[in-house]
Symmetry: C2
Subunit: 483 residues, 2 copies
């Protein structure tokens, strides 16, 4: 079993993460005999499902429709868009054999589905009346990572890829969609209490085939930035190659405009990494597979214990009927403290403790996992108090995460100041930038970090100079060590 | 576009099926440039999701836990169980390249996951206290079919494979699990109104690696049987090979016992094929993405029409609040009859018609898709009447399906009687059988059908003789043309 590290911060992070996903039974990694793939265990699978439920709700509410595209993309289709191929070619897994035969045409395991869906859209979409059209799917994608793989963070089978693909009648409408996608993802990460910066990726680091790419980055406890969502304006790149042609309002025919945007299980990794502590997971109530666990405290004799159990069962029924995800831990062979330990590892937000003391006083003891604090509440007000407590936990987790995040973003005015921040993995440095590619590339070289891009809100470093060339800066460049 | 055939029965079936899945926008097949794979379109995806919801509920209620296993199985792991390999080897798709490199070890796209999960279970399960353990996953599996492929019915990417894998401390407990699985699947097909026979597959046709296999077969309108679910007692086959060793109650250590059972999108094909008619789909209310569509009938002037629209909107709100999946078709550029046509193709169970006539009489006209009949109901009783109507549709679809199914099962006493049933694809023939393999194989040869196996309820053909050898029969053998 993976050894428990003293904390999740700094150099300990990777060990802590491996430890917590194992002991909390989230994701089995490193034992399955293929590099870079993992297994979702039941508790982790539920967490994943609850995260996806939130995403699906946000997408469905905004008129997105779920589809399911094939895993396999024939080589000739995949190669049709040359920039896209160059971006992915080095990391595609290829099926070349079927049964005892060599295949005529190699089949790629999709690294993403722009080519597959554009191919289909050429059949499905003919008129502006059908637009905007917003599709999405949740599926596995594959990347033959040659760098060191990490559970959920850098894998060869990305099992939880949510990719949206939209089609529009104009550049502007696609741009509006980019904005909607940014809004959806902002809401999504807000609901999960995950802090983020939204950056326009530099031109030299955009999605293969896109006009431009917007990215959401968060920061893990080791001070490295993690890309957790991307939004691409695809222009007419794929529409032209796959002949997605649309009759427009003025009856002319033109290629459609497209966007795509995606998130992956890196979101789950972020929930785990950002909210957890040295005791294990701390799950936000909206994605906690178990929101409340009830632990009965045995009495001095069988009689008292049986009254405790009876009351615990009643409380369980009350909470269940109120719609909470609740577990009654009635295993009598374990002491309460052993149960506490187990459910703390699993990050259950609220623990209900009921013993002789509570029975006598007609109260319930509630324990909140995020602050490791107990409060006593009136039995009659239990449902309200639990509701309030869960809300308070949601808010606290989010605030705490943002506070730490903000403390690790440094706005500095020179490469000398930026360099130690990157090198020591203290977080993200923001430096004034003239906007030229050459200067951007040198920022990477001189700090050893990756350039994440610039704020999308147009914020300018008035009167400041580019940290490389000294000319007037028109924006900031964000730099960090990344995954 | 696929041409519309005159009916779904007999030789027309395949054409009808291709037509209906295209015009109802369920599943796009034959256009995507890989043989044997299809695309789930939004309406089809929702149907698929609703079907899976029912399955997940039945599994969750009985203590099954969902997991997600890797797609890729390394060749050496896959080859560990020799019988299993022989069963699947000819139809495995192999990944042999990653990026620009040849892989050291070929990776199979899972054709099923017994090997992958048994490998993991050897780490996860140690003691009888953890048993029985019931896992399942919903995922794509791959089979390199060399026969003619058919949408949903015989595909290379099975996108909707629900496979359960269970672990037990004894042969008997695994056998109990087989019974539970049969019960779950029976309930499942009953909820969908899909008729079935449950057969113990003959020994020469069981799952590769199983002690025995139980199968659910239904009958499609062309008179061919379709396997829609299987349940396998795996004995200790995989547990031995992958060393799933369990400490037992008596403290000895022994290999675990396993079962597995699966269904696929053939269930969706069955819903479509069995309930549909020459006008299109007829969906059971519990899986219909839209259960009720509201079509307003314009009045003689704008004023009257706007009163109709107002009332329609109100009805929409009422139905929505009552929890129905309802659509208000307020497209004013289409005539009501055009809308009728469209929603009949899509199989919406109930149509609500509201026009000046209904306004005047304070009634609503309800149309049921299964019988193509209208009834008028009191506006005030709408919710109750719709509820009643949906129930009645559910019951009618199921009864109608079972009636047709039973009419196409023929219990006969000789090969001469069985032969034309199989040859003319009239359904399933049941013939007395002595139980010997040689006689069973000859039944296939002489009728040109496939032997589905024998009833699991132990029913015997008292006093009858085996139709091949003439010796006393101990059971029936079911024979049919199959998919």
């Amino acid at each position: 079993m993976t050894e428990k590290p003293p904390s999740k911060y700094g150099e300990n992070f990777s060990k802590w993460f491996d430890w917590v996903i194992e002991v909390a039974e989230i994701y089995d990694y490193g034992r399955y005999p293929v590099k870079g793939v993992g297994v979702w265990r039941p508790y982790g699978f539920k967490l994943r499902q609850l995260m996806l439920n939130i995403m699906r709700r946000l997408l469905d509410e905004t008129g997105h429709e779920e589809v399911l595209l094939p895993l396999l993309i024939p080589e000739n289709i995949f190669r049709k868009e040359s920039e896209h191929v160059r971006g992915f070619e080095g990391e595609v897994l290829w099926v070349t054999r079927g049964g005892f035969e060599e295949l005529d045409i190699k089949l790629a395991l999709r690294p993403t589905s722009e080519t597959a869906i554009s191919y289909m859209e050429s059949f499905w979409l003919k008129s502006y009346r059908q637009l905007p059209k917003k599709y999405y799917q949740v599926a596995s994608i594959f990347r033959y990572e040659t760098k060191a793989t990490k559970p959920m963070l850098r894998v060869r089978e990305v099992t939880t890829f949510k990719e949206a693909h939209t089609v529009h009648e104009s550049f502007e409408d696609a741009e509006r969609q980019v904005k909607e996608a940014i809004e959806i993802y902002s809401k999504f990460f807000d609901e999960l209490g995950i802090p983020y910066l939204i950056s326009k990726r530099p031109d030299w680091d955009k999605f293969a085939g896109a006009l431009y790419s917007i990215a959401f980055d968060t920061l893990l406890p080791d001070g490295r930035a993690l890309q957790i969502g991307t939004v691409h304006h695809l222009g007419q790149t794929f529409a032209k190659v796959f002949e997605v042609r649309i009759q427009k309002r003025d009856e002319t025919i033109d290629y459609a405009w497209q966007t795509s945007y995606g998130i992956s299980e890196r979101v789950i990794a972020s929930i785990i990494a950002i909210h957890g502590d040295e005791r294990g997971l701390i799950l936000p109530p909206n994605v906690a597979p178990i929101q409340i666990v009830i632990v009965p405290i045995p009495g001095k004799d069988i009689d008292e214990t049986s009254r405790v159990l009876k009351e615990s069962k009643k409380v369980y029924g009350d909470l269940k009927r109120s719609g909470f995800r609740v577990r009654f831990d009635d295993r009598m062979e374990l002491r309460p403290v052993e149960k506490y330990f187990e459910w703390e590892i699993k990050g259950v937000p609220v623990r209900v403790e009921i013993g002789p003391k509570e029975l006598a006083a007609n109260t319930i003891t509630l324990f909140r996992r995020d602050l490791m604090e107990r409060i006593e509440v009136n039995r009659a007000k239990l449902i309200d108090e639990v509701e309030k407590l869960l809300n308070s936990i949601t808010i606290n987790l989010k605030e705490r995460a943002w506070k730490w995040f903000r403390e690790h973003i440094f706005r500095v005015s020179s490469i000398d100041e930026a360099k130690p921040i990157i090198e020591n993995r203290q977080g993200i440095a923001e430096v004034p930038w003239c906007g030229k590619e050459l200067c951007g590339l040198r920022m990477s070289d001189e700090t050893g970090g990756r350039t994440l891009g610039s704020p999308i809100n147009g914020e300018e470093p008035h009167g400041k100079s580019c940290v490389i060339c000294g000319k007037p800066a028109i924006t900031y460049m964000r730099i960090a060590k990344t995954y």
